[in-house]
Each structure stands twice: as structure tokens, then as C-alpha cells.
């Protein structure tokens, strides 16, 4: 009987292997690939019109919104044709691309260069603030927010300030201020509303009001703008709230980015679904492929994958520690603390613990973790 089972298993594996091999599709109407947009799509038309830094920036925005790094490549190609003495706009987009590659020093330098050439450039200050936030350099981020105040709208300037406050133990005040600023601007563009609502949801989660967070996440989703970051943040929220079955429904359409695939896999695992294994395998392949390219731009995700899906706390800790050197956002801290705890290496958690106490970050889950590690 055992042998029979073994034979069936072997046969099954062989059949799977055969399925994975290159093939000739059955007929001409077989759809092999769905493109992100049709030719008639207004965005496609816009991209055909744009040149240089404008084209690069538009592509970069698409990369961010859709979670698709191919647009980053197109953006770099568009910039490469730019001249040697780059104008502010080129420096600005180049800075964005550098921060994408985690060359934060280079990014800050380019963005500063853009500010010098064009002192009224809002984006340059906003992005410098964002890079400082990623590095947990809150005083420097606040400085950039201050520089924004005379240039940007009330909502944007408030958003910048609130982002810093929300990460430094003043989530409630940040929430109230940002909420008021949003209410005062019912005409704000959908993308701006989306960002603001996502922040509000995060702040609410941070000061322990999940139902309020839920409401803002839903408002943001109802805007109908595809945003990878929002989807990931809401998926994390649902996982945290032990509602994994909703993650599958939420992300069904958007399996493209590693970011979201990680959440899909975590949700499947939380429900003991058989496809958890398949998702984890696909993620593993993507990380391996990135490794082949010599890139590790997604160390935090990789650490999370190693910790929660592969059950390899030591490897997860190594990835999380490496990630912490470059990126110090709350989720980077979370995975580092969890990996250190799981690997039984409390010392390795020290940098994240220091950040937690120095920043005054108030998320209950992180504080619980920290207490366990003391």
C-alpha cells in the first residue's frame, strides 16, 4: 500500500514537472498574458506623449501605484537620455529612482540639488522628508516639513508633519490634525485623499482603535484608485485582526507584486489553506531570482517570508538585521523584533528596541514584543 502511495506521489510529481515545462499553446486564441493596460488606455496615450524627466516621473508613479518595477526601468531609460548638466526636474526624478534602489545618500543629494536649482520645488522637500522618515531621522524630516509650509497646500504640509508626529508617539494628535485638514479640503484629488486616509487608518490602528482604522481603510479603497501600499497596509491590518479570509478576497486581483503575494501567502497560511505552500514557493522563487540579479531590495519582505512561511528564524533574523541598516520603519522594526525573539537572540533586537524607546512609537503590538524581549 505504501509503495502504491509512493508510486502515485511520484507519478503526480512527474506530471507536475511536465506541466511546468515549456509548451506549445493549444490554439491561437489562448490568452497567454494580460497587459497592465490596453492601447486605448488614457495612461498609455499619456506615456506616448511624454519625454525626458516627465516621462520618467510618470513611469515612476506607475511603478509605485501598481507595484510594478518594470516602470522603474522605463523611468531610468527615459532619464538616461537627459543631458549632462541636469535641470532640477531631472535631478528630482533621479533622486526618486535612487531612493527606490535604497541609495538613500545619493537620493538625498540629488533632491537637495533639485531644491537648490528650484527652491520652490515641493516634491524635492516632500521626498527628502520621506527618505528621512524611512531612516528614522525624525528631526531632519521635520525640518523638510517646515520648508514645505510656505510652498505647499495646508493639507500637504499637515500630512508631512502628521507623518512625523504619528511615528514619534503623538499618533492621536497627528490623527486629529490631519483629519481636520482633510475635512477642510473636500475637493482634494483622489490620490491625495487616498494617501491621507491610509495615514489616518494607520494612526488609528496605532492608538488602538481598529474600528476607526477599518473605516478609513474602507474609505480609501472606495476611491477606486489602485495603490499597492494601501492594499498592503490594509492586508496587514486584516492579518493583525485575525481576519485572513478577507485578505484573499481583497488581493485576488492583484497578485503581481511580491509585497502583495507575501500577504496572500500569509493569509493562506493563517487559514491552513493548501495553496499556502504554492504561494510560499512562488515567493521563494522570486527572492531567489532577485538574488541572482544581485539585488536585495525587499529584505523586509524576505525576512517576513523566512520567519512566517519558511520557519527559519535564524535566516530571517539575518535578513531583518541587514534590512534595519538601511530601513527603519515600524514594520522593519516589527520583523526584526519577531525574528530576534524566534531565533532566541535577544541582543540582535537591540537596535530596534532603541528605536522604539527613542521614537516613542506607541503601537501596542510592538510594545508587547519589546516587553517579551526585555
Amino acid at each position: 500500500m505504501k509503495q502504491f502511495t509512493a508510486a502515485v506521489l511520484l507519478g503526480g510529481c512527474w506530471a507536475l514537472g511536465a506541466l511546468a515545462a515549456p509548451y506549445v499553446p493549444r490554439d491561437d486564441s489562448t490568452v497567454l498574458e494580460r497587459l497592465p493596460m490596453r492601447r486605448s488606455d488614457p495612461v498609455a496615450a499619456e506615456l506616448r506623449q511624454l519625454r525626458g524627466a516627465d516621462l520618467a516621473r510618470r513611469n515612476f508613479e506607475l511603478a509605485m501605484a501598481q507595484g510594478d518595477p518594470r516602470y522603474v526601468g522605463y523611468a531610468e531609460a527615459a532619464l538616461r537620455k537627459a543631458d549632462n548638466d541636469p535641470p532640477a526636474e531631472v535631478l528630482f526624478v533621479r533622486g526618486l529612482l535612487k531612493q527606490y534602489r535604497h541609495d538613500f545618500d545619493g537620493a538625498l543629494a540629488d533632491l537637495e540639488g533639485a531644491s537648490k536649482l528650484a527652491p520652490e520645488h515641493i516634491g524635492a522637500h516632500a521626498w527628502r522628508a520621506a527618505v528621512f522618515m524611512v531612516r528614522a531621522e525624525y528631526a531632519a524630516a521635520r525640518e523638510e516639513c517646515r520648508a514645505l509650509e510656505p510652498l505647499a497646500s495646508e493639507l500637504l504640509a499637515t500630512g508631512c508633519r502628521a507623518a512625523v508626529d504619528g511615528a514619534t508617539g503623538k499618533a492621536r494628535a497627528a490623527y486629529d490634525e490631519l483629519k481636520a485638514a482633510l475635512d477642510a479640503r473636500p475637493d482634494a484629488a483622489a490620490e491625495i485623499r487616498l494617501w491621507t486616509l491610509t495615514r489616518l487608518a494607520e494612526f488609528a490602528e496605532r492608538f488602538g482603535e481598529p474600528s476607526l482604522a477599518e473605516r478609513h481603510f474602507r474609505e480609501a479603497l472606495a476611491l477606486g484608485v489602485r495603490d499597492d501600499f494601501l492594499l498592503a497596509a490594509y492586508a496587514d491590518f486584516l492579518l493583525e485582526q485575525k481576519r485572513p479570509q478577507e485578505v484573499g478576497t481583497l488581493l485576488k486581483k492583484w497578485g503581481q507584486s511580491d509585497n502583495l503575494l507575501l500577504r496572500v501567502a500569509l493569509a493562506a497560511k493563517a487559514q491552513n489553506l493548501p495553496e499556502a505552500l504554492k504561494h510560499a514557493q512562488a515567493l521563494g522563487e522570486r527572492f531567489a531570482a532577485a538574488g541572482l540579479r544581485g539585488e536585495r531590495l525587499h529584505l523586509a519582505e524576505e525576512a517576513r517570508y523566512l520567519l512566517d512561511l519558511k520557519g527559519e528564524p535564524k535566516a530571517a533574523l539575518a535578513a531583518a538585521s541587514e534590512n534595519w541598516k538601511a530601513q527603519r520603519e515600524p514594520r522593519d522594526a516589527a520583523v526584526l523584533l519577531e525574528a530576534a525573539l524566534a531565533a532566541g537572540e535577544r541582543k540582535a533586537a537591540a537596535p530596534a528596541l532603541r528605536w522604539l524607546y527613542e521614537s516613542g512609537f506607541e503601537d501596542a503590538r510592538l510594545l508587547r514584543l519589546a516587553a517579551k524581549l526585555r
Binding site: D68, A130, M133, F229, L262, L292, R293, L297
Partner: protein
């Protein structure tokens, strides 16, 4: 203005993780030729030359198929192997983690024999996407090499000689050991001849010498044909060789059940050993034979085979000798084992003669 605002708005996405554009390039040395497979994402091909003829946002097999020659022309204008002529073969489709890929098969001819050094030049999508990479995996000179090609690194040399001669020698020796370990047909053939060797031995020495004669005869015979085939002096169709190997196992095991040859087992080992040598040779050719170090590869591989063989004998002989008078050895191992070998090898023979897949092993 709105765009500028978007910058801050989207700033939280700094650490987004996804799949950038990669192509997968696999090269395998096969005799004098290189066999290649190049997987290129349909999304990238769409961006470069346009596949979606009706603009509906979906790429069908029909749309892809119509562009086959255009794709091959585009791709192979951006990839070359120095001193080799690339001949595109049929196009297939495969799924990778980020979508469907066109699979371009090709062969490369590089003259009389494969050069010691392969020089690749790669510029696919260099103008369209500087983050594109070509991920290379080559089985060449008895080793597997991986490498990354891209706009920053358009050239790559693969050196069979990058490894010292000793390392190459050891590579081939390892392959030889490995092949005898996984080459069940060779192992079973040898065992069939060795099983009876201890049966009537009064002392260890005669048993040892009987085994020694058989193993040496087998070794000498397959070394001769291995060398002849590897040097392209003689070549036989592989289906014939594989079928004959299976037949040799059947006959050797049958001889234990219904003895025909009893004295000169070494002669049997020698005769059939000649056939097994051709089998080893095909493995060696698949590994890719470097022209400059042919002899080294040949000797290394052969010694590896012998080493693997000796390990098997070293385990088998003392065990069999110790157990030779027991009922277990005489009935179960000798008779039962031989019968089992006959059945297994007969199935192999049917598979190989009729080119079937019965799913054994």
C-alpha cells in the same frame, strides 16, 4: 502641482518589492554543439516590438506566433557567442512567477569542437530598460556556471579553464562516481555477476579473486569502448546501446537462475562491458567535452566510474561472503534478487526498445 503632491503621497512606497525584468538564458554543451534556451517575458517583448496586435490588452498565442520571426530577429541581434553561429529553433511558451514568457530554443555551432572559453555578448532591452538582466546558467566543461548579464555588464566570458586542470579532473571524476551510483543498470549488471561469485568459495581468497577478475574485465572492456566513443572513433545509436545494456542485465541475471555460463564469468563481464562503455560515453558527451582537455576528462570520468564501482564491491563482497551459507543469501538474495533484476531489466528493455515510458525510475 498635483504631481508634486503625489511625490509625498506615494513616498511610503519606498520599499516596494516586485519582479523586475529578467530573461533566463540556459546553455548546455552537448557534444560539439551548444543547446540553448532563452526565456523572454512577453511583457518585455510587447514593450520592445509590440505583440498585442488588436490592442485589447491581452496577448494570445496567435498574436505571439505571428511575431515569431520578428522576435527571433530582435533577440538574436542582441545576443551573440563569439565564433559560434546561432541557429534559432522553434518557439515555445512557459510560465514564470511574473507571467508568460516566450521560450526561444536555439543551437550554436562553434566549429570542430567547443572552445575552451565562451564569450557572450548581451544587449537585450539595454536601451529600453537599464534594469533588465539576463540570468545565465551554463553547463559547460563539466561544470555549471551562473552569471548575470545586463546593460552594466554586456560581456561575459565563461572559462572551462577558469578551473585548474586538477579541479577539472576532479569534476569529471565526480561525475563518473555519480553516474555509477545513479546508473542502476550498470550496478545491477555488476551485482548479477557478483552474486554467484561467493557461493561456492571455500575461503575468502578465491571469492576475492573471482570478484577481482569480473570487475577488472568489466572495467577494461568499458574503458576501451568509452575511449573509442568519446574520441568519436566508433559511434552507435543511443537507443541501440541503451537497449543492449538492458538486455545484458537481463541475461546476466537469468544466468544465475538458469546457469549457462559458469566458469568464465569474466568473459561475460568483458563482452557486455564493451556495450556499457558506450553508455558511459553518452553521459560524458552530454557533459560537454572540452577539446583541449579531452584526455583529462576521459581519464577522470573513467577513474570516477571505477572508484564508484569499487565502493559498491567493497560493501558487497564482505557482506556476501559472510552470508553466503545462509538461507537468506541463497534463496532470497541470490534467487529472489536475480529474479527481481530480470524483471526490472526486462521492463527497461521494453521501454528502451519500443521507446516507451513505463515510469520505472
Amino acid at each position: 502641482m498635483k504631481r508634486f503632491l503625489l511625490a509625498l503621497l506615494l513616498a511610503s512606497g519606498t520599499a516596494h518589492a516586485h519582479k523586475p525584468s529578467d530573461s533566463y538564458l540556459a546553455l548546455t554543451a552537448e557534444g560539439r554543439e551548444l543547446r540553448g534556451q532563452w526565456d523572454i517575458a512577453l511583457r518585455d517583448l510587447e514593450y520592445a516590438i509590440g505583440l498585442d496586435a488588436d490592442g485589447d490588452g491581452a496577448i494570445t498565442w496567435g498574436e505571439l506566433r505571428k511575431k515569431q520571426s520578428e522576435i527571433a530577429a530582435y533577440a538574436f541581434a542582441r545576443f551573440s557567442l563569439r565564433d559560434c553561429r546561432i541557429r534559432p529553433g522553434p518557439m515555445l511558451v512557459d510560465e514564470h512567477t511574473d507571467g508568460a514568457y516566450a521560450v526561444l530554443q536555439f543551437t550554436a555551432e562553434c566549429g570542430e569542437a567547443l572552445p575552451q572559453r565562451l564569450e557572450l555578448e548581451y544587449s537585450l532591452f539595454a536601451d529600453l530598460d537599464p534594469t533588465h538582466r539576463g540570468l545565465l546558467r551554463a553547463q559547460f566543461g563539466g561544470q555549471t556556471v551562473t552569471g548575470v548579464l545586463g546593460p552594466d555588464r554586456p560581456r561575459l566570458s565563461l572559462d572551462a579553464e577558469g578551473r585548474t586542470r586538477l579541479e577539472q579532473f576532479l569534476d569529471y571524476a565526480r561525475e563518473g562516481v555519480w553516474h555509477i551510483w545513479i546508473g542502476f543498470d550498470h550496478v545491477l549488471f555488476l551485482l548479477s555477476l557478483l552474486l554467484p561469485a561467493v557461493l561456492s568459495a571455500p575461503r575468502f581468497a578465491p571469492a576475492f579473486w573471482e570478484v577481482f577478475r569480473v570487475v577488472t574485465a568489466f572495467t577494461v572492456a568499458h574503458s576501451i569502448t568509452l575511449a573509442l566513443a568519446a574520441l568519436s572513433v566508433v559511434s552507435l545509436p543511443s537507443r541501440l546501446v541503451e537497449s543492449a545494456i538492458a538486455a545484458s542485465v537481463v541475461l546476466a541475471a537469468l544466468n544465475n537462475l538458469y546457469p549457462v555460463v559458469q566458469r568464465g564469468r569474466w568473459l561475460v563481464a568483458f563482452t557486455f562491458g564493451l556495450i556499457h562503455g558506450f553508455g558511459f560515453a553518452s553521459v560524458l558527451t552530454e557533459l560537454g567535452l572540452p577539446k583541449e582537455s579531452l584526455l583529462l576528462a576521459l581519464v577522470g570520468f573513467n577513474l570516477g566510474v571505477e572508484a564508484g564501482q569499487l565502493c559498491i564491491v567493497a560493501v558487497f563482497l564482505p557482506l556476501a561472503y559472510a552470508l553466503r551459507h545462509t538461507w537468506i543469501y541463497r534463496r532470497v538474495v541470490f534467487v529472489g534478487g536475480s529474479a527481481l533484476i530480470v524483471v526490472i531489466a526486462a521492463l527497461w528493455m521494453i521501454e528502451r526498445v519500443f521507446n516507451l515510458k513505463l515510469g520505472l525510475w
